[in-house]
Symmetry: C2
Subunit: 188 residues, 2 copies
Amino acid sequence: MMPLAPWRPALARALHRNRARAYCRYLQLATINIGGKPSNRTVVFRGFVGEALQMVTDGRSEKVQQVRANPWAEACWYFTVTREQFRIAGRLTLLDPNNDVEALRSKAWQAMSAKARQQFYWPHPGQTRANETEFEPVSEGAEQPPDSFYVLLLIPDRVDHLTLRGNPQDRYIYERKSDEWSVETVNP
Amino acid sequence: MMPLAPWRPALARALHRNRARAYCRYLQLATINIGGKPSNRTVVFRGFVGEALQMVTDGRSEKVQQVRANPWAEACWYFTVTREQFRIAGRLTLLDPNNDVEALRSKAWQAMSAKARQQFYWPHPGQTRANETEFEPVSEGAEQPPDSFYVLLLIPDRVDHLTLRGNPQDRYIYERKSDEWSVETVNP
């Protein structure tokens, strides 16, 4: 078993100390779009799978196309209570109905609220607004996710942790080379 | 005079309704780094210059090199009180000591707190942590910014506004073609 990555305790502590705010699990995920420009949106952190950060996404969303063309990403995660930022860079992996080898999609689906599940039955995201009747609730089986439900994993190779408290602030850069993480204390 | 861009009232309303939280002025700015991968960090919104969003940055920071090589960016701005997101895509412009034609750097400098100003006299950001004595306060003239103080302007050409309240949520996409903005209501 690989030892826990050295940035994990700091991130776990941030999640714990900010837990009173539901949005402490929201982070911003940057990717590169089909035209080669940056793309950035809020996603919800849904736990770790080994060292990877788990999110879910709609298979019809633009980010799925983007990730298939270019898997590189940087997440920026700012915690408002403790005033600290994690920038987490790495590679994204998509789990769709055809490559969901460890049934991670089913597990993630079971952890979703009924309301969050409904969104995956809605009309195609980003297209001209459909008739309201197309957004009506469907009765769905709790066990198996629809084909539109994908899991997105961010496998980090660099983490930049900045704490705004303190003057000067503290900043640490963690980098992975093969399976070894190093850490350096740098100027903020 | 150009008419106010149609997304501006929605953004002004969000800023107003979230004003009790100082961090409502923090947004995440995605760019593309020298290696062609996404880069993402929290920046502070410092008002509008015409249609452009104004930020400040240290001339020695990595993002300055990135912007010189590739000006495209997308800001992701999530408002925690009203639960809405603005994704603002466009082109970045840097104002450094050599091209600060409208003295925007001086104006922005005068609006900075004494503590925020000190950071621009600190050792090179991102390099191995310097001796603590190098972070000691310097007495600085309030009138003129140091050479390390840059203004960063994001000139939007696309704004994607999503409100999480409501079921289904509301989502609007604004796009600029030359000087004309269009808006479309799309599926969330």
